[in-house]
Amino acid sequence: MKLLVPVKRVVDYNVKVRVKPDGTGVETANVKMSMNPFDEIAVEEAVRLKEKGIATEIVAVSIGPSQAQEQIRTALAMGADRGILVETADTVEPIAVAKLLKAIVEKEGPQVVILGKQAIDDDMNATGQMLAALLGWGQGTFASKVEIADGAANVTREVDGGLETVRLKLPAIVTTDLRLNEPRYASLPNIMKARKKPIETIKPADLGVDTTPRLKVIKVEEPPKRQAGVKVASAAELVSKLRNEAKVI
């Protein structure tokens, strides 16, 4: 069984992003970039499925600038077998990403596509669901457990207040939540091995997909800064302020 794992190059989660003074976006020049953390969980899950003998091949895909090869290399070092980079310098929205991935799915024929539930840059939380819709596949979003057997996937999902389990006919889409697994490090020997694994580079046009954005960014701004408040002297004063001034209890 083949697995496809899309990985996105994003600003590292430890970086405090700054809004550009001209309001066109956030500063990404000279900022540490990493694989989207939810995508790392997706790669880890795929590698575990391969280690269990359920999957036979893992293809890591990234859509982005040529530097996104670094994130594909990380996926390869974690255990993916080969990579595909859809190279574009443009902003690609989830709908275009989903269409590009659909074209790759049709070429590669994976039984499961495992994606991060959301990217920590645009926070859209949409690509997996959209790809599922375009392919007409079932979707197991926000997964905290995935079991694959007998041509189906049982996916336990993080829902508000607890867990829900759905059974999906294969092929299917899974999107990962934080608790699904703890991603491994790309070990030094595996980084060396990964350098010998192939990465194919293609362009969006090769897949016949129009990536023109549907959303025009009018402006990006800092959220209103919170004013530092007051220090209170005692528990009694605190509770009194919460009752009488803030009126929240």
Partner: protein, 394 residues
């Protein structure tokens, strides 16, 4: 890292490329992730004095013990550049977390790789990589530091090989080591350059003892050890390399190890800089933050400038070393500057943290103690200056 000196028109056109190679850059970023994950264990270590076992397991499992060894033995065959880039990241962790890597990236491993017989290497190297054969480097003696000629340990030839007598001190990892590289005079009359030999000593050999532990200024455990040899019978195949040549092995090993110590100081200094920058931005004072104050800003400017210079010198020396340009003064300059600039950066960081910088539990307080040794071991700053001036004035 593959810059060229602009010798001809073609080289001028090509310019200089200061980027570290991609694989090394990947090593760096993955090591940073691993270090960030291991840092929270420092608390447990400080409370118990015991390094949590998962630290060693993580390093072994992810290939850190294998870094410096050739691929034929299951190693990664990485040179000085990769080792130093990785070490500069690991240096953010308490030294006790990575101290076992020192002999593996330092003189002991260099001696074994460069001079051990094929049989000796086959016996030792796989175990060094897997962590099953911890090693230690036994050179320094109570009366013999930088002046190797004053060594008192002797190995006297007998029918069964050599009989080893004497003692060593400041030996890292001696308590855990299963094999030690031990230096001894085999021919005092021949002087240091012809009379010192190196041996591979099995820790289980009768007559070998770990006599005591010396607590250190930095986080005091596990410390370094005093060891002694009382009529220790070394078998014939324990000789490392050629008899009487070990003075050169020691210098060669220390020369390479020097870069590693420089990388350690670089990593500590860069970490201190980062901590100081973060602190300066959030520490309120006089209606703003201390980062607004010029005194603090200049300190940070100096720290950043010096750490950048240290990094470039060190990467340059490593890269040239890997290309075969093993000029002693380059390693010495890099070590000298990185350790002294790193120490200044850490000192400034403590100042920026103010009272908190003097409190246990703050990383800069630990760094202040831990970085001090880098100006002393693997050749003190004074020895580095001797080496540099000797090469310049040759």
């Amino acid at each position: 890292m593959n810059y060229q000196s602009p010798g001809g028109a073609a080289a001028l056109d090509a310019g200089m490329n200061f980027e570290i190679p991609e694989a090394v850059a990947e090593f760096r970023s993955v090591t940073r992730v691993l270090v960030d994950d291991l840092l929270p264990l420092e608390r447990e270590f400080q409370e118990t004095g015991v390094v949590p076992p998962q630290v060693r397991q993580t390093l072994i499992k992810n290939g850190y013990f294998a870094l410096a060894f050739p691929e034929e033995y299951g190693g990664l065959g990485m040179g000085a550049l990769a080792q130093c880039v990785v070490q500069a990241e690991l240096a953010r962790l308490p030294p006790q977390f990575w101290t076992e890597l020192r002999p593996l990236m330092g003189p002991a491993a260099k001696n074994i790789l460069n001079h051990a017989s094929a049989e000796q290497k086959a016996r030792l190297v796989p175990g060094m990589i897997s962590g099953d054969i911890p090693i230690a480097f036994g050179l320094t003696e109570p009366h013999c530091g930088s002046d190797l000629g004053s060594m008192r340990t002797t190995a006297t030839r007998n029918v069964d090989g050599w009989l080893l007598n004497g003692s060593k001190t400041f030996i890292s990892n001696a308590k855990n080591a299963k094999t030690l590289v031990v230096y001894a005079y085999t021919d005092k009359a021949a002087g240091p350059r012809g009379g010192i030999s190196a041996f591979l000593l099995e820790a289980s050999t009768p007559g070998y003892r770990v006599d005591g532990v010396i607590p250190l200024m930095g986080t005091a455990t596990p410390g370094v050890y005093e060891i002694s040899f009382s009529d220790v019978q070394l078998p014939p195949d324990s000789l490392l390399g050629e008899e009487g040549k070990a003075f050169h092995y020691a210098l060669e090993g220390l020369n390479e190890g020097r870069l590693n110590v420089g990388a350690t100081a670089l990593g500590m200094g860069e970490y201190a800089l980062e901590l100081a920058v973060d602190q300066a931005k959030i520490r309120p004072a006089f209606g703003g933050f201390i980062a607004d104050l010029q005194a603090i800003r200049h300190m940070i400017a100096n720290m950043a400038t010096e750490m950048r210079a240290a990094r470039l010198m060190l990467l340059d020396a490593c890269w040239r070393f890997d290309q075969g340009e093993k000029r002693r003064e380059l390693a010495s300059m890099a070590k000298l500057f990185a350790t002294e600039a790193g120490s200044r950066a850490v000192d400034s960081a403590v100042q920026i943290f103010g009272g908190y910088g003097y409190c246990r539990g703050f990383a800069v307080e630990r760094l202040y103690r831990d970085i001090r040794i880098t100006r002393i071991y693997e050749g003190s700053s004074e020895i580095q200056r001797n080496t540099i001036s000797r090469e310049i004035l040759r």
